[in-house]
Amino acid sequence: MLELIVISTLNGILFGMLLFLMASGLTVIFSMLGVLNFAHASFYMLGAFFGFQISRWFGFWTALLIAPLLAGAIGVAVERFGLRPVHRNGHVAELLFTFGLAFVIEEIVQIIWGKSPVDFRIPSSLDFPAFTIFSTNYPAYKMFMLLVSIAIFAALLIVLKKTRIGLIVQAALTHPHMVAHLGHNVGRIFMLVFGVGTALAAVAGVIAGPALVTQSNMAGLLGPILFVVVVVGGLGSLPGAFVASLLIGLIQTFAVSMNGSLSGAFGPLSPAYASTWLADIWSVTIAQVAPIVPYVLLVLILIFRPMGLLGTRDT
């Protein structure tokens, strides 16, 4: 039991940090541009596939560097030539544009790499057990993922809090017009933020690709969870996104590893209706319910705290 708790906690924090790598970019983009980037998870997917392709040609470490840059460049282009012209048609048009973009990116990835998972392997230099706790070998690659995401988190924090550019970004979050009046090129800041945000998502894609499955539906699977994170944390709140990422990472990881069900807990009672209409609810295990747990959390949050955990503003 203790073993399960320790391993699940580690995995949960890992998954949470990965989520935060993406949610942070999404949140900052949302706060600044006012548009929730529907295609954010698509950039995560692009990162994974670029990483796969580049690591095939030049090795994993080059891929870890180049793939996010490529995805970030695409992000910059999308902001400059796609989002900015749509901006005058309002937020709904922007959201729809990113929705269409997500659709097109998935189609393009399917055309180039096919629908089945690609063989994206863990680099051999990291393919060994890091340590053993209670008879379970914990892979070094997962520790590497954890370290990378924590390092980026720390770097992001320092940039935002301690540097000049971070100050401008923070100011543009709340008062974009004032920042423009002070002589800063807000358009360029937006472009930069969009590029960095998408590049962060791509980093998450490159490091998650070998550990999870690199497939053309990965954006569609992860995207909704990402939005749950952002809404649960409070739209536009970076600390909220951090808390929500870890919360959802932990909850989902723990749910997957549990096998209990109602029939297991109350089996001896065995009421008659349990075997007919309610058979599914009666016998489903917690592990099977795991995929819907984030959404249940979303609905609960919306009922009891519509602003999100740490959110302060209404959209």
């Binding site: 949302f30 006012g34 548009v35 929730l36 796609g82 012209p85 749509v86 048609n89 937020h91 709904v92 048009a93 959201l95 729809l96 544009f97 929705f99 269409g100 973009l101 659709f103 097109v104 189609e107 393009i108 055309i111 180039i112 790499w113 096919g114 569609g220 909704p224 939005f227 749950v228 952002v230 809404v231 739209l235 209409w277 058979a279 599914d280 609810i281 489903v284 099977q288 319910v289 995929p291 819907i292 959404y295 249940v296 979303l298 609905v299 919306l302 009922i303 519509p306 209404d314 959209t315």
Partner: protein, 433 residues
């Protein structure tokens, strides 16, 4: 008080206006009745049925997006649940030999949509804008994932099927042949379209528009925007349920794809491409998108890519959709300045088409090398055969793409100039008239 009311209220419609208005619906009904006489083949009847279902679904979606300003990413939930309930209802009614004929069955789907709209709507519509969009997506994922867990009711991956011909018969109609299903769908489409049009004319419909445009003022007037959004959500769920029920009757099966993100995306595409600013927009969009998805899938392997690109193009260049584009020309047509714009259109259209042709050629060639690399390089796209391996194809597509883009960019600027001239002329005439 009564004086103010009479001056403020619009004048009562004249007899000709009334005739025009009711004549339009009668004409629509006549067209629907006569359509199978003209296109009687099984394939076209199926297409018409699908279009009818799509029209109801898109219009129900536009109650949210176009009229209340709520962008939903999970509208298929109410469509799908309506479909599932109807399949189960048909099975139960058929097994117990209840005297309920098929034509009233879609009502069950509608009530299901209404019930779930009422259940999930209160939480969903607390906020509008981006928050609502995200919530609708979350709720949709919740229902779609639950559908795969609750296998007894939703039938897992395979879905649940039913036999529509086993029901109580009226007028000797068994609803086995597609033609009878066509008439069923057509009748329900007409009823639903009229009902939804009537809804836009009610005070509630007007309040929905007000909530879309300025929720704060609505509060000052004394209405609660949340309640208005909630009511719109319920109505939209009701009509989506009817559409889902008709789809379930048409296919005699309901599966988890009915509830999924793909279905929600399709209805959003249809409504938006048609144009959300006008009542007729989603109808045009539904017809366009249904025919496009049926037609394109025969012509090319990667039709969904083109589909997405068309959607992005509409969002970027024609946010009013197809109807918005057409309606833009109405003032010019009235003022008689339309002919001034047409030549510049022609100039712009040629390079634009060249660019699109180049893009399609490039996409099809790339698809040949990535999706089926081993095949013969003599491929066929949109019915036109060409050799993907020859360098001339690459050169042609590059020239068309780049050249078309450069010329088109200049020409569209000219279109805008011509447009502005014609528009100001039309306005002058309007003022002097």
């Amino acid at each position: 008080m009564s004086e103010i009311a009479t001056t403020v209220a619009p004048p009562l419609p004249t007899a000709t206006e009334k005739l025009k208005f009711y004549g339009m619906w009668v004409a629509a009904a006549v067209v629907l009745v006569l359509l199978p006489r003209v296109f009687g083949s099984g394939g076209s009847l199926t297409t018409f049925s699908l279009i009818g279902i799509s029209i109801i679904f898109s219009l129900s979606y536009n109650i949210l997006l176009g009229q209340t300003g709520l962008l939903s990413f999970g509208h298929a939930v109410y469509y799908g649940l309506g479909g599932f309930l109807v399949i189960h209802a048909i099975n139960i009614i058929g097994a117990n030999k209840l005297p309920i004929p098929l034509p009233v069955i879609p009502l069950i789907g509608g009530l299901t949509g209404l019930f779930f709209g009422a259940l999930l709507g209160w939480v969903s519509t607390q906020r509008s804008g981006t928050a609502f969009a995200m919530i609708s997506l979350g709720v949709a994922e919740l229902i779609a994932s639950s559908a795969l867990i609750l296998r007894t009711f939703f039938g897992g991956e395979a879905g649940v099927s039913a036999n529509r011909t086993k029901l109580f018969k009226i007028f000797g109609w068994s609803f086995g042949p597609q033609i009878q299903i066509y008439y069923l769908v057509a009748a329900w489409t007409l009823i639903a379209v009229i009902a939804m049009y009537a809804l836009t004319r009610t005070p509630l419909g007007r309040m929905c528009n007000a909530v879309r445009d300025n929720p704060e003022r609505v509060q000052f007037v004394g209405y609660n925007p949340h309640v208005v959004r909630y009511l719109a959500f319920c109505f939209s769920g009701f009509f989506a349920g009817i559409a889902g029920a008709l789809a379930a009757i048409n296919f005699e099966i309901a599966n988890s794809a009915y509830l999924g993100a793909q279905q929600s995306g399709t209805v959003l595409f249809a409504a938006f491409i048609g144009g959300i600013g006008f009542f007729i927009g989603p109808i045009v969009g539904a017809i366009f998108v249904t025919i496009l998805s049926l037609g394109l899938s025969d012509l090319t392997q990667v039709w969904q890519l083109y589909f997405g690109l068309i959607f992005i193009a509409v969002v970027l260049f024609a946010p009013g959709g197809i109807t918005g584009l057409l309606m833009m020309h109405r003032p010019l047509l009235k003022a008689g300045t339309l002919p001034q714009v047409l030549p510049s259109y022609l100039f712009a259209l040629v390079p634009t088409l060249a660019m699109i042709a180049g893009l399609v050629l490039a996409v099809e060639t790339i698809v040949h090398y990535t999706v089926n690399p081993g095949d013969d390089s003599h491929i066929k796209a949109f019915g036109i055969p060409f050799d993907a391996a020859s360098p001339s194809i690459w050169a042609i597509s590059a020239v068309l793409l780049v050249g078309g883009f450069l010329v088109a960019r200049k020409d569209w600027v000219r279109v805008k100039e011509a447009w502005d001239r014609a528009g100001s002329l039309a306005r002058e005439k309007d003022v002097s008239a």
